[in-house]
């Protein structure tokens, strides 16, 4: 049995496509078998929602009178520095940006109450945001100072552009030291007192297409509550890691670089987050539709939490020192049960990514496709596969003290 994306799109337009979520397909495959399920189902919708630090947004704010060139000067949105290194009125704000006067970790652990992720959330929510900018002035752009409220509805373009999202699998973080540590994987209690993890597991887009047979550059997706696209492989793309027989990687592997019009997104799926002792971030909601082109693809979508494994890593020593040691491997079924066993010790688990909201995203995308509002796109280029030889290299430091 094989189908094409255009055949599936025909069915979607006619309202005849059978669309199910990544959770539902597990039951269907169990009851009907892979062959029959692949014939029955046209699209499986996935979802994930969690802090994704390498996210940001760019804007064109419109020209001032007299004209001003923000590029090369300094710009702040609600006191959070924006990257002003383009032409006159284009700005980029990164999710992890902090106000210059934020105390950071001077009084450890810092609070990190407000930053770039929160600015993006406020813009999407339709709140006014204060722009303060200074520039050096030129003959054609004489103005040097600007203080104004801006609102997303008045911006020429507002585009979410995230260079690394939707990590295909991730570490489980623990702490073997004697004191509490504050990490991007949450607050970790001492002496293996708690474990943090962050993946939607069996709902996660790249876990359900683990060898990138359908997801590629140009894939239309659910992004932040609106429609977006896969723009490129995400940074740190690392497809060559060890994998289980079912194709899922046994640690962080592929990532997605995504893009979409911020104006049609929602603050429910773009949430500014504060990671105590670490920094600010942006929780991003992403959902990818997987066309069931053949039985192999269906088999991948039916993978369960019990069949996906993540490495347990000590964030008090191995992780910060970039050492390869792992303390063991656990499945997402174990992680979601609330307790994992590591080195004979039972450790309570806490998630950083929201399973309920990931499911909500998969259901929303299912709904859009079911109503014929969202058509699948044919990827214009494939993502580098497990055999591509693409690797994720560490920095090879070459001391730059002497020239």
């Amino acid at each position: 049995m094989t189908k094409t994306i255009s055949e599936i799109n025909q069915k979607i337009k006619q309202g005849k496509a059978v669309v199910v979520t990544a959770a539902e397909i597990i039951e269907i495959a169990k009851q009907e078998g892979i062959k029959k399920a692949a014939e029955m189902v046209d699209v499986v919708t996935t979802g994930t929602f969690g802090p994704m630090c390498s996210s940001g947004a760019y804007f064109n704010i419109g020209h001032t009178k007299p004209r001003m060139k923000l590029g090369g000067g300094r710009s702040y949105l609600n006191d959070v520095p924006a990257y002003a290194a383009f032409a006159a009125v284009d700005l980029f704000i990164g999710a992890n940006a902090l106000p210059d006067d934020d105390p950071r970790n001077h009084n450890h652990p810092g609070d990190f109450n407000y930053g770039g992720g929160h600015v993006i959330e406020e813009l999407v929510a339709g709140h006014d945001v204060r722009l303060i900018a200074s520039a050096y002035g030129t003959d054609c752009y004489p103005r040097k100072k600007l203080e104004t409220w801006i609102n997303i509805k008045d911006l020429n373009e507002a585009v979410l552009f995230n260079m690394r999202n939707a990590y295909q699998n991730y570490n489980v973080a623990v702490n073997t030291s004697d004191k509490t540590i504050y990490t991007y994987m949450g607050v970790l209690k001492p002496r293996l007192g708690s474990a943090g993890y962050s993946s939607a597991g069996q709902l996660s887009p790249l876990m359900k297409d683990p060898c990138y047979k359908t997801i590629g550059v140009g894939t239309r997706i659910f992004l932040g509550g609106g429609v977006g696209y896969v723009a490129w492989p995400g940074t740190q793309f690392n497809p060559g890691v060890p994998r289980s027989e079912n194709g899922t990687p046994r640690g962080g592997a592929a990532t997605l670089c995504v893009i979409g019009d911020l104006k049609q997104m929602s603050p429910r799926y773009l949430v500014g987050t504060s990671m105590q002792g670490y920094g600010v971030s942006l929780a991003v909601g992403i959902g990818v539709p997987i066309p069931i082109l053949n039985e192999d693809i269906l088999r991948y979508t039916a993978i369960t939490d019990a069949e996906i494994f993540a490495p347990v890593i000590d964030y008090s020593s191995s992780y910060p020192n970039r050492e390869p040691d792992i303390l063991g491997e656990v499945s997402y079924a174990e992680l979601r049960s609330g307790k994992i066993k590591v080195q004979g010790k039972s450790i309570p688990t806490a998630a950083l990514s929201s399973y309920p909201r990931a499911l909500e995203i998969a259901n929303t995308l299912k709904d859009w496709i079911g109503k014929g509002e969202f058509l699948l796109s044919e990827p214009v280029a494939a993502l580098p596969g497990p055999e591509s030889g693409v690797t994720f290299k560490p920095l090879n430091e070459r001391p730059a003290g002497e020239y």
Binding site: F49, G50, P51, P109, D111, N113, G186, V187, K189, G193, S194, A195, G196, V271, G272, T273, S274, M275, Q276, S281, A283, R336, S337, G338, P348, T349, A350, A351, L352, S353, S354, Y355, P356, R357, L359
Partner: protein, 145 residues
């Protein structure tokens, strides 16, 4: 029970954090609170050591009038009264049900519902320690005084 009935009976149940000054640790303050002010109390957490400031999280129950007099008595004794635990609330609009709070809470007030993974907050178990406030990434937990 309706709001009207509540106000006529005037029974109150409140969770409070009591800070005992050093010099008062060895005095029977809580005994007087029961005997003279007719307040029931339930100790949720206590850390009382001689020669050091004592800390106790208690649930006080009694008539409003007795409660007010009891609180006045505690203040007169030099006991500081702080942060009522039922005033740790969750802003449901901000909570994303991620679960970062689950292992942070020493009292087990948060739990992930098996299957759905929806995170529940049981305010009855809350001891108002405040650890969840800053450990919550979207800052959904709020402390009201």
């Amino acid at each position: 029970m309706s709001e009207k009935e509540k106000s006529t009976k005037k029974m109150v149940t409140k969770k409070v954090v009591l800070h005992f000054p050093k010099r008062r640790v060895d005095e029977p303050i809580l005994f007087r609170l029961i005997k003279d002010y007719d307040l029931e109390f339930n100790i949720l957490k206590a850390s009382i050591t001689p020669e050091a400031e004592g800390l106790m999280v208690v649930e006080l129950k009694g008539e409003q009038a007795s409660y007010d007099l009891g609180v006045q008595y505690l203040l007169n004794c030099g006991v500081k009264i702080q942060a009522l635990s039922q005033d740790v609330t969750r802003n449901e609009d901000r909570c994303t049900s991620c679960g970062a709070c689950v292992t942070v809470c020493p009292a087990g007030a948060f739990s992930s519902e098996p299957g759905t993974m929806v995170v529940r907050f049981n305010s009855k178990k809350c001891v108002a320690c405040g650890l969840c406030i800053k450990a919550c990434p979207p800052r959904a937990m709020e402390l009201h005084f």
